[in-house]
């Protein structure tokens, strides 16, 4: 069925602090459409003088949740739109959005697996929609999420990821901390590289479908590393968020 991509006015239902640099906005949509995990919305701000700024934000929630979506936004210093969403927006406000958008960087349970998800910083957002959907749909495809953060305080959705993994339905979360590690940490403590990727990807075999998301330079490195680790380029999909600023 054809649906025109139109701007609509969403209401900010709630705002939740995920980490000291990220917030999740729950938006109620008058014209909600079920999304495909991995898709995004465009957000448009208009100043009183007519000046407009538009940015894309991935959907964090699963499509099984109807009528509303979660967007998780990282605040960038001097970030025009992210600062507005962090510092100005309050529950009850209205905001212009259009979506869901995209059909390339998407995964849904019917597509099967195994799945290799690689995230740097806020790049975990669209992958979170995938794992939340995986759970809601009762899918058990083998899924490895490799998630790079600077420090333990930077981990978005930490508790929920822990619970999802504890459900024992085939999801494994593998973390790496590039700047500071939790006490007694024995896991990875460096940037994502080819050796790490092949360790994480090996148990999934050559048929794995990979989704990489995060700051542009991290995505580059991870995509190259996966090809080096033996995964065919056509099995690797990427979503670059933009300049890294060393986010992960």
């Amino acid at each position: 069925m054809k649906r025109l991509l139109e701007w609509q006015i969403a209401a900010v239902k709630s705002i939740r602090e995920e980490t000291y640099r990220t917030k999740t906005l729950t938006l109620s949509l008058p014209s909600w459409t079920a999304h495909r995990p991995g898709q995004h919305y465009d957000v448009r701000l208009t100043a009183p003088d007519g000046y407009q700024a538009q940015r894309s934000y991935s959907i964090a929630s699963e499509p099984e949740r109807t009528g509303e979506i979660d967007l998780t936004v990282e605040q960038l210093s001097d970030g025009e739109v992210s600062s507005y969403l962090h510092d100005v927006l309050v529950p009850g406000d209205r905001i212009e959005v259009r979506g869901p958008i995209g059909g390339y960087f998407v995964w849904e349970a019917s597509l099967g697996g195994p799945l290799l998800l690689v995230a740097g910083g806020s790049g975990v957002v669209p992958l979170m929609s995938m794992v939340r959907h995986r759970r809601a749909a009762g899918a058990t495809v083998a899924t490895h999420l490799l998630y790079s953060s600077r420090t333990p305080e930077d981990v978005i959705y930490a508790d929920e990821l822990h619970e999802l993994q504890a459900a024992g339905d085939g999801l494994r979360v593998i973390q790496t901390f590039t700047r500071a590690q939790p006490p007694n940490w024995t896991g990875y403590a460096r940037r994502i590289d080819a050796a790490m990727l092949s360790e994480v990807a090996a148990p999934l075999g050559r048929k794995a479908q990979a989704f990489i998301c995060g700051p542009t330079l991290l995505v580059e490195a991870a995509a190259d590393g996966l090809v080096e680790a033996g995964l065919a380029p056509e099995r690797i999909k990427t979503e670059r968020f933009g300049p890294s600023g060393g986010t992960a």
């Binding site: 390339y104 960087f105 670059r240 933009g242 890294s244």
Partner: protein, 94 residues
């Protein structure tokens, strides 16, 4: 005209980042749709191209040879579309 590719590397995005504007122009989701590079013959989904949003307008380049495949410039009243670098675009019929 455009900056050499390596200087804008950090700002590079994927075809997904152009999904909204392409949907607006063509009236439907385009990023899962295939296209072919006029310069090197690579075929792949529009979502797999490299997108530069900081050029004047929007520029999509081939990930294999880096040549420009699509260019979109918008003015308040019109959209200008230059697809010289693409052999074809595929649109769903409706």
């Amino acid at each position: 005209m455009e900056e050499p590719m390596d200087r804008v590397h950090e700002n590079m995005l994927d075809g997904n980042a152009a999904a909204g504007i392409l949907d607006e122009i063509f009236g439907g989701e385009m990023t899962a749709s295939p296209t072919e590079c006029e310069h090197c013959g690579r075929e792949g989904e529009l979502g797999s191209l490299l997108t530069f949003t900081q050029a004047p307008g929007l520029v999509l380049r081939c990930p294999a040879c880096s040549e420009v495949m699509l260019r979109v410039v918008q003015t308040p009243d019109y959209t200008y579309l230059d697809v010289r670098g693409a052999v074809y675009l595929r649109l769903a019929r409706r």
